[in-house]
C-alpha cells in the first residue's frame, strides 16, 4: 500500500463504510433470510448511514482530488455526502412502515437504496467524466428497478418503464456529449476541460456547445429540470410513496451538485474567492436563468389543476428545481450557499410532505385530494405536520422554505440584470400557494363523510415531528446552517 493509496482509502472511507454495510445486509440476508421481515435492515441502514456521516465528518478537511483526480474531497462534496446519507437513512425509515412495499423486499429495497446512495455520492463528487457517468448510471439504473419496486402494480411498472426509457435515452445523449467533449478537449477531467475551453474560445465548433447541452440534459434528467422533466410526475405518481420520497430529494440534490461542479469547473473559471466567470462564448447565467424560469413555470402551472396529491408534489418538485437553479445564476458563493441551504430545507419539507402522502395512501388506498378530507381534524399530528411542510414549501416566513427562497432571491438580486427572474420567481411562488392550499383546504376546511381514524406508527409520528421541528426552527434560526453551507461553498474545489 502506497501512502497515496492510504490517502485514497481514507478519503473514501464514508463510501467504504456504506459498502461495508451494504455487504453486511447482503450477507446476513443470504444467511438468515428471516431477518428481512424484522427491523434488521432498517437498523443496518440507519446505523451504516450514521457511521458514514461520522466518517465524512472525519475526512472533511482539506480540498483535494484523489484516486488520480477521479473524485474530489472538498467541503462542498462532503456537505452533499452527509446530505445523501441522511436522506437515505430518513427514506429507509419512511419505507419501513409503508404498506405499499412488500415486507419481503426490505432487503432488496435497502440494498438498492444504499447502492443508489453510493452512486449519488460519486455524482456529487466526480471531477472526471467517467466517475460522473458511473455515478449517474448507478443512480439511474438502480432507480429503474426501484421505481418498479412494487412489482405487482401496473402503475409501478409503468413508472419504471417510463423512467427507464427516459433515463436510458438521456444517459445515451449525455455519453454522446461526453464523447464530443472528449474529442474537442482531449481530456475527461473537469479541470482540464475547463482550461481547454477557456483557452480555445476562437473558432470553437458549435458542436461543443451541443455537447454541453447534451451533458446538461443528462444531469437535468436527474434533477428533472426543463426539458427533461416530463418523466417526473408520471414516475412519482406511479411509484410507491417512499420511493417517490427518495427520488424527489436524493438524486435531485446529487444532480444539482453534479451540475454545479461540472459547469463551474468545466465551463467556467474561478475569478476570485467564490466567484466564477463562464467560458467565453457561453453565457451560463443567461442560460441557467432561462431554464430556471421555464422550469418553475411548468412545475407551478401544471400543478394547479391536479387532484392527485402525489402528482401535485411531483410538479411542485419540478418548480423547486427552478428556484434552486436561480442560485446558480449569479455564479458566486451566496447563490451556492443559498442552494445548499435550500436543499436542506427542501429535504426536510419535501420528505415530510411525501411521507404524509404515503401514510395517507397506505390507509385510504388513495392519494387523491379527497383522501385528505378532514384529516387535519381526525389526525392532528399528521395535519399540523403537513401544514408545516406545505407552508414551508410555499415559502411562508417562519418556515425554512422561506429562508431558502429568501437566500436564493437575495443572491439573484445581487446579480445585475436578473431582476426579471426574481419577479418571475416570486410570482411563481404565489401561484404555488394555490395548489398547496388545495391540500390544506381538503385537510382543514372540508369534512370527510366517514371519518377514518388514521393510526400512525410511533416511528412515523416521531419521524414526522422530527422533520417538522427543524422545518420551523431553521426558519427562525438559520445562522449555523448558513455558515456551514458557506464554509462548504468556500472550499469548493
Amino acid at each position: 500500500m502506497t501512502p497515496e493509496m492510504m490517502t485514497n482509502l481514507k478519503l473514501f472511507a464514508p463510501e467504504i463504510a456504506l459498502t461495508f454495510f451494504l455487504c453486511t445486509l447482503f450477507v446476513y440476508d443470504a444467511v438468515l433470510p428471516s431477518l428481512r421481515k424484522t427491523l434488521f435492515p432498517l437498523i443496518v441502514i440507519v446505523f451504516g448511514m450514521g457511521l458514514a456521516i461520522w466518517a465524512t465528518a472525519d475526512v472533511a478537511t482539506g480540498v483535494q482530488t484523489y484516486f488520480s483526480g477521479m473524485i474530489a474531497n472538498d467541503g462542498f462534496g462532503n456537505f452533499f455526502r452527509i446530505f445523501f446519507f441522511a436522506t437515505a437513512a430518513i427514506c429507509a425509515i419512511v419505507a419501513y412502515g409503508s404498506k405499499e412495499l412488500e415486507t419481503s423486499g426490505r432487503t432488496e429495497f435497502g440494498l438498492l437504496l444504499l447502492c443508489i446512495t453510493f452512486g449519488l455520492s460519486l455524482m456529487a463528487n466526480a471531477t472526471h467524466l467517467l466517475t460522473l457517468y458511473i455515478g449517474i448510471e448507478t443512480a439511474s439504473i438502480l432507480s429503474f428497478a426501484m421505481a418498479g419496486f412494487a412489482r405487482h402494480t401496473l402503475r409501478g411498472n409503468e413508472a419504471s418503464i417510463k423512467y427507464l426509457i427516459f433515463g436510458a435515452l438521456s444517459s445515451g445523449l449525455m455519453i454522446y456529449g461526453f464523447s464530443l467533449i472528449y474529442g474537442y478537449t482531449g481530456s475527461l477531467q473537469y479541470a482540464e476541460i475547463g482550461k481547454y475551453l477557456t483557452a480555445h474560445a476562437d473558432g470553437r465548433p458549435l458542436i461543443v456547445l451541443f455537447a454541453l447541452f447534451l451533458i446538461y440534459g443528462g444531469i437535468a434528467y436527474k434533477i428533472s429540470a426543463f426539458p427533461m422533466h416530463f418523466w417526473t410526475p408520471d414516475v412519482y405518481e406511479g411509484t410507491t410513496s417512499p420511493v417517490a420520497t427518495f427520488f424527489s430529494v436524493g438524486p435531485k440534490a446529487a444532480g444539482v451538485a453534479a451540475l454545479i461542479r461540472f459547469f463551474l469547473t468545466a465551463c467556467a473559471t474561478k475569478t476570485g474567492e467564490g466567484v466564477w466567470t463562464s467560458i467565453p462564448g457561453l453565457s451560463l447565467p443567461n442560460a441557467v436563468a432561462m431554464i430556471a424560469a421555464v422550469t418553475m413555470l411548468i412545475g407551478n402551472l401544471s400543478a394547479i389543476g391536479q387532484t392527485n396529491v402525489k402528482r401535485i408534489l411531483a410538479y411542485s418538485s419540478i418548480a423547486h428545481v427552478g428556484y434552486i437553479l436561480m442560485g446558480l445564476v449569479g455564479m458566486e458563493k451566496t447563490g451556492l450557499t443559498a442552494i445548499l441551504f435550500y436543499l436542506v430545507a427542501y429535504c426536510l419539507m419535501n420528505i415530510g410532505a411525501f411521507w404524509v402522502v404515503g401514510i395517507v395512501s397506505d390507509i385510504k388506498k388513495s392519494e387523491d385530494l379527497s383522501a385528505f378530507r378532514g384529516m387535519g381534524w381526525s389526525s392532528p399530528t399528521l395535519g399540523v405536520c403537513m401544514a408545516v411542510f406545505l407552508f414551508s414549501l410555499t415559502g411562508i416566513p417562519m418556515f425554512s422554505g422561506f429562508i431558502g427562497k429568501f437566500l436564493l432571491f437575495g443572491a439573484l438580486l445581487k446579480a445585475p440584470g436578473f431582476l426579471w427572474l426574481a419577479i418571475f420567481g416570486v410570482l411563481n411562488s404565489v401561484v404555488s400557494l394555490y395548489y398547496y392550499s388545495k391540500i390544506l383546504k381538503a385537510m382543514y376546511f372540508e369534512r370527510d363523510e366517514q371519518v377514518v381514524a388514521l393510526d400512525l406508527l410511533p416511528l412515523h409520528r416521531a419521524g414526522l415531528v422530527l422533520l417538522a421541528i427543524p422545518t420551523v426552527v431553521l426558519g427562525l434560526f438559520f445562522g449555523p446552517v448558513i455558515e456551514f453551507a458557506e464554509k462548504a461553498v468556500l472550499s469548493f474545489l
Binding site: 426509457i165 447541452f213 426539458p227 416530463f230 408520471d234 402551472l301 394547479i304 389543476g305
Partner: protein
Amino acid sequence: MAQQCLYIVLLPFLAFLVQVSIGKKLPRHGDFVPVLAIFGSFLLAMPIFMELVSKGEVHDTLRFTWMSMPGAEAAGINKSFQIVIGTLVNNLTAIMLGMVTLCAFLIHLFSTGYMHGEDRYHLFFAYIALFSAGMLGLVVSDNLFTFFIFWEVMGVCSYSLIGFYYKKPSANAASIKAFMTTRIGDTCFLLGIAGLFYVFGTTNFLELYKLIPNPEYHNVTLLGMPAYAFIGFMLMMATIGKSAQLPLHIWLPDAMEGPTPVSALIHAATMVAAGVFLLIRMFPLLQAAEVVLPVVAYVGGITAFFAATIALVQVDIKKVLAYSTISQLGYMVLGVGVGAFAPGFMHLVTHACFKACLFLASGSVIHSVHTQDMREMGGLKSKMPVTFATMLIATLAISGVPGFSGFVSKDRILGGVLAYSMENPAHFILPILGFATAGLTAFYMFRLMFLTFFGHARDEHKHHHAHEQPLPMIIPLIVLAGLSFAIVFAGPTGIESIDHIMPTKWFDVALEGAQHEMGIVEHGNPEIHHHAHEQALIISLIVAFTGIFLSAITYLKRIINPDLVKKLTGPLHYILFNKYFFDEFYIGVLIKKVFLSFNRFLAAFDDMVVDRIFVDGWKDITMAIKAVIAKFDDLIVDRVFVDGPGHLAAVGGWTIRQLQTGKVQQYLIITISMLALALYFVR
C-alpha cells in the same frame, strides 16, 4: 360671560345625557329635566342679553387649545397645526342667545303638552335638548370649526327628530332626505373651513375680522380662483343647504314629517336660521370676496319668490308654513346678499319669533283636529280663540303689517334691496322679486288663516272635537305672539319716520356695534338709501295690503272662486302644487336614474370586471376553450377549476399539461426538439 356661555351650552347637553341614560325611568319620563335645563340656560343667557340691551354692547371671549400638533422644524407647508376653540360673546351672540334660549324653552314647554303620551317621549326630549345644546353651541362658538361641529350636531338632531315617528316610512325618507341634502352643504362648509385654514390658518371670527382686510390674503388663490371667492361660495353652499335655499330647499317641506314643535324649533326658528347666521358671521369675508354677495342675493331672492309661489297652493298647513319659512329665509339671504346685513339679521330674529308662534299655533290646531289638511279645517276661530289670536298676530307680523315685528325687518330688507338696485340698476329684478314675495306672503298667510279659522267647518267631525289647548301649550303661544310686535325691536309702528322719537333702538345699536366689530363699511350713498327706504315702505305696504285683500276676497268672502282660478291657471297650478317638480327631478332623475344606477354599475363593475377580469380572470375564456376541447377529451370536462385567482395560471397550466400525455416517447420528442432548438438558438 364667556364662561357663562359654556354652562348655557352644557346644561341642555347634560339634560340630553340624563334623558338618554335614565330618562325613561324618571317620573313623567323626565320631561322636566330638559325643560328645566333649557330654562336654566335661558336664565343664564338673560343677564348677557340684558347687558346688551342696557349697555348697547357686550364683548367677552374665552379660548383654549383643543388640538395642537407640532410641525416640522423648518417651516414650509408643514407648519405646526392647532385648533383653538372658545366662546365669543358679542352683540350678535347675545341677541341670538336670548332668542334661542327663549324659543327653545317655550317650545320645550309646548312639547310637554303636545307630545304627551307619545311613544319614546323621553327620547324626544333628549333630542331636542341635544339640539338646543347644539344651537347654543353654534351661537357661542368663536370659530368656524366648532361652529361646524355644532352645525352638524343640529343636523343629526334634525335627522332624528324628523324621523321621530320611525315606523312611518315617509318620516324615515324625509329624515334621510333632510340629512343628505344638508350634508351636501355641510361638505362644502368643510371645504370652506379647509380653505380658511389654508389661507388664514385660523377660523376664529375675531382674528378673521382682522385678517380679512389685509391685502396680502386677498391675492391668495385657491383652485384657480381667488381664495375669498372660493371660501365665500363654499359658505354660501353651506347656507343653501342648511337654510333650505334653492336648489337644496327640497328637504324642508318634507321635514314637516317631524312633530310640530320640532318644526317650530328646528325648521323655523333656529337651525335653518343658522345658515343665515353663518353668512352674517362671515359677512366681512363675503363682502371682501365681491363676487359672492350678488350670487347670494339672487339665491335668496329667487328662493323667496319661488317658495312663496309654491306656498300659494299648498293645502297642508305645515307645508304652507314650511314654504313660507323657505321664503322668509330667502328674504334674509337676500338681505345679506345686498349688503343689508343688519336687516337680514333682524329678520332672522323676528322671523324666529313669529314663525315659531305660527308653527306652535298650527301645532295646536293639528293637535286639536288631528289633521294637517286645511281643506278639512275651517271655523276654528271660536273653538280655539287663543290659538287664533296669537296666530293672527304672527300672521300680521309675517305679512308685514306695520306695528308688527315682521314689518320692521322686512321693510328694511326691501329698502336695502331697492337701494342696491338703484345703485346697480342691472339688478332691477331683485326688488321686484322682493316686493312680489311680500305680496304673495301676505296672500298665502291670510289664505291659511281664512281657511283654518274662518268660514264654516268643512269637517264637522273634526271640528266637533276641536278644543283649546292646555296651559303649557298656550303660554308659549302668547309669549311668542307678544314678541311679534314691532315694539320689541324698534318703535311701536316700525315705521322709522314715525318712530324716531321712541328710543327703543337697542337692536340697531347692537347691530351697529356688531358691524363695527366686523369692520364692515357701509357702501353707497346715504341719500339713495334714505330715498329707497321711503319708497320701499310705501311699496311694501301696498303689496302687503293688496295681498291681504286678495286673500280675503278669495277665501273669506269667496268673491273670487279659488277653484275657478285653479282651473283657469291649470298648468301653472299643477306646477306650483308639485313644487316645480324639484323632488321628482332630484329623486326620480338624479338619484334614482343617474346615481343609483351608477352605483349599481360600480358594484357590478367591482364584481364583474375588477374581480373577474383582473383576478378570477379568464374564467369565461377557459370555459370556452374547454367547451371546444370537451369533444375531444372527456377528462377536461371533469376538471373543474376552483374559483380563484389562478384562472390565468390554470389555463397556462392546462396548456402545458397537454404535453404531459403519458406517452414517454412524446416526451422524448419534445425533449430532443428542445435540444435541437437550443442548437439553432445559440448559432
